[in-house]
């Protein structure tokens, strides 16, 4: 306690001593929590809560007075795919993982009916983190198969809350998918957005390895050891990818309710290519702005908001990144709309990077400049061609032009080159597949078309080749290359 006050004092002092810093923003008045969350008895007729399956979120309550809200939630044990060709028996609230999304307003009186389907094998119950009262409703909702229980609570605290099953063994019930989110809107509601989506992470433990086909039972030992086979958003590998991706357009405001059911792992939630304009960390009231990655504890949730500018696919991950690429923690937001190249250009340059192999591409630039002014000399072509050759051709044909015996043919003193320089242009433009005989040796390697080179560059490279390593000399011009390019059929995929 004493240490704290010293630290606070030091912080204040530091702030006071740096006049260039504006005074700290005054902290928003607190909400008063549960002590100010009771707005009196429910008014009007009871309303039945709209429940939605993930990734959908019920519409805003649009209520301005406390109501009595009836929630009917059914527990179902269902077998379905956790990954392609892999079956798993999930225990669910409402038939989905995560369970149905529940939306109420602060001050509402919630009459909760938990129904355990007669086909189920297990007793179940529910602990809602948004409940004020022992067990969060767990003991009051303990229900065997073929029965239902009822309890009532007043939602005193606003926020986004996890609910889950708390029946023995709790870990197994949660690991099998028994969790979901309940939103308690602040009295004034949430700000309007274009899309609200419901995403919840969970870790899963199967006897078989990741993506091992067939029906996979739950592995208790892996769960105790906290070694998940799968880490997933919304209970299956494909639940939010491909045709199931979340959808939005550019210029829209997106709100994600992101929960983490666990049972074991905490999530480092991140959307690749987006920055969260606003996060309510751990579902609290006061937002943080401009956040890259937000921590979502097991048994916790956050509200994240961002605005879409650039079209494309945005990947939601747990940035504990092996989980994303090796255990399934990937989801997708597909954003459509016109490109916004002033914000993000897409790929503008794709070219060879030479490292320190060649100090400068200056000769290439000089040759290009000379060509455009009509003053290009053979020497300039040779210099530019040397640079380009070293960046493109020497990997196979070697800097010495000797090639590699019986693998890549030589260019130095090549009889093929000597006979028909035009053939060299064809090969550079279109590549060469199949046997070719050079200086009496037959080569069968494949040379891809040099589609990335323009006519100038091909001309310069070949002029360099003709004037190096004891070859006979000569000049290939841009126009020569143009003629060949125009007159030969290029293979599929060869650009230009």
């Amino acid at each position: 306690m004493k240490k704290w006050s010293v630290m606070v004092a030091a912080a204040l002092l530091a702030a006071a001593c740096s006049p260039q810093n504006p005074p700290a923003t005054t902290v928003a008045a607190d909400t008063g929590g549960s002590s100010k969350g009771d707005f009196g008895p429910p008014q009007g007729e009871p309303v039945e809560a709209v429940l939605t399956s993930p990734p959908h979120v019920p519409p805003p309550t649009n209520r301005h007075a406390p109501a009595k809200v009836i929630v009917n939630l059914e527990v179902k044990e269902v077998e379905r795919e956790i990954a392609e060709g892999v079956k798993y028996t999930f225990w669910t609230f409402g038939g989905t993982v995560p369970g149905s999304f529940i939306r109420v307003r602060q001050g509402d009186t919630v009459e909760f009916h938990l129904k355990n389907h007669p086909d189920n094998k297990m007793p179940h119950n529910i602990d809602l983190h948004g409940v004020t009262g022992p067990g969060g409703g767990a003991a009051s909702s303990f229900t065997p198969p073929g029965h239902q229980s009822q309890f009532t609570f007043k939602a005193l605290n606003q926020g986004i809350y996890v609910y889950h099953c708390a029946t023995a063994p709790v870990g197994m019930h949660v690991a099998n998918g028994m969790y979901g989110l309940i939103l308690v809107e602040p009295p004034e509601g949430l700000s309007p957005v274009d899309h609200e989506y419901y995403v919840m992470q969970g870790d899963f433990y199967t006897v078989g390895k990741y993506r091992e086909k067939g029906a996979q039972p739950f592995d208790m030992q892996k769960a105790i050891d906290e070694r998940p086979t799968y880490v997933l958003f919304n209970g299956a590998e494909s639940s939010l990818t491909g045709p199931n991706a979340l959808q939005a357009k550019t210029g829209e405001r997106i709100r994600l309710f992101v929960g983490n059911g666990g049972p074991n792992l905490v999530s480092s939630f991140h959307v690749i290519g987006e920055i969260f304009d606003k996060v309510q960390p751990e579902g609290g009231t006061h937002p943080q702005e401009n956040v890259q990655t937000t921590l979502i504890p097991a048994g916790g949730a956050a509200i994240v908001e961002f605005h879409t500018e650039v079209p494309g696919n945005y990947i939601l991950v747990d940035h504990s990144i092996f989980r994303a690429f090796n255990k399934g923690a990937l989801a997708m937001l597909a954003v459509t709309g016109d490109p916004r190249t002033e914000i993000y250009s897409g790929k503008q340059v794709d070219e060879t990077y030479l490292g320190d192999k060649v100090a400068s591409l200056a000769p290439v630039a000089a040759a290009a400049e000379a060509k455009s002014t009509g003053t290009l000399t053979k020497e300039q072509q040779v210099k530019a061609g040397e640079v380009l050759f070293k960046g493109t051709c020497s990997v196979c044909h070697q800097e010495s032009g000797q090639g590699i015996p019986s693998v890549f043919p030589p260019l130095a003193k090549s009889d093929l080159l000597k006979k028909t320089p035009r053939r060299a242009i064809e090969i550079a433009l279109n590549g060469l597949t199949g046997p070719v005989t050079v200086n009496g040796v037959t080569y069968t390697s494949v040379m891809p078309p040099m589609s990335q080179l323009n006519d100038d560059e091909v001309a310069n490279i070949l002029t360099y080749v003709l004037n190096s390593w004891g070859n006979d000399g000569g000049v290939i011009t841009k126009e020569d290359v143009q003629k060949v390019r125009a007159s030969t059929k290029r293979p599929e995929g060869a650009a230009h």
Partner: protein, 257 residues
């Protein structure tokens, strides 16, 4: 009905009507139980008894219902059995076709105990049942065997909606079949297992309360297979029925041979 059960429990002479082959003899044993009788006591003693080798079948229960029509689903008093009691049968005294050899389920504790009484027996106590359930194929106590545990948990992982197979799975160490992997089973003292509906209160010594015998704690928290049995039993009232809850009968002392 209930008073008859009590008389039997209090040790009145029992006529052993069942042929010996139907029941397996279980020797007296002292073993580590998941539900100790008192704080600080890890083991419990179970006297010798005999236990049905298989759960009671639909056919056997149908014979009982025909001879004791008060237990027909259309005549039973609601306080003894809920609305789903035998609701899956073809009619009030006939099981679904093909299910004659399958274990009877959707029976209440009252109905199960009445059936056993009619056989001169009673439901096994939790500790009797637990002793037999601890056995593997070749050992009396397989509870530390991970394969034993996984087999049980795999059954828990399968939904209950499938048609139940016939009784007669592989025998365990005692020659008792289908203890795991077929149905939950009623026990005599199911209603005294007052496990809190909120499993996380286990650390609280009051969490598990036995009527009249004080507070005890739950042992072997890692034994999830047994914990789930207890959770299930404790969620059921004596009039409740479920698609997965069947039973078998026990005689509290060995039948002389």
């Amino acid at each position: 009905m209930k008073s008859t059960a009590l008389v039997l429990l209090m040790g009145a002479a029992v006529a052993a009507t069942a042929p010996p082959a139907q029941r397996a003899g279980i020797p007296a044993a002292t073993f580590a139980t998941i539900l100790p009788p008192a704080p600080g006591v890890a083991t419990v003693h179970v006297d010798a008894f005999e236990l049905d080798r298989t759960p009671v079948t639909n056919a056997a229960f149908a014979a009982f219902v025909r001879s004791t029509p008060a237990w027909r689903r259309d005549r039973v008093a609601r306080v003894f059995a809920d609305e789903r009691y035998l609701a899956h049968w073809r009619d009030a005294s006939t099981p679904a076709p093909g299910a004659e050899r399958a274990p009877v389920t959707q029976v209440s504790w009252f109905a199960a105990q009445a059936y056993c009484e009619a056989q001169g027996a009673r439901l096994p106590t939790w500790h009797e049942w637990e002793l037999v359930a601890a056995a593997g194929p070749d050992t009396a106590d397989a509870r530390s065997d991970p394969d034993w545990l996984q087999t049980i948990l795999s059954w828990y992982a399968r939904p209950a909606s499938d048609t139940l197979p016939d009784v007669g799975g592989a025998p365990n160490y005692y020659g008792v079949r289908d203890v795991h992997g077929l149905v939950w089973e009623w026990v005599l003292d199911a209603q005294s297992m007052m496990v809190s509906g909120d499993n996380r209160e286990q650390g609280d010594p009051d969490a598990l309360r036995f009527c009249g015998s004080g507070a005890v704690t739950m042992e072997q928290k890692e034994n999830y297979a047994m914990l789930m049995r207890i959770a299930t039993l404790s969620s059921m009232r004596a009039s409740y029925t479920s698609k997965s809850m069947g039973f078998r009968c026990a005689v509290p002392r060995p039948v002389p041979r």
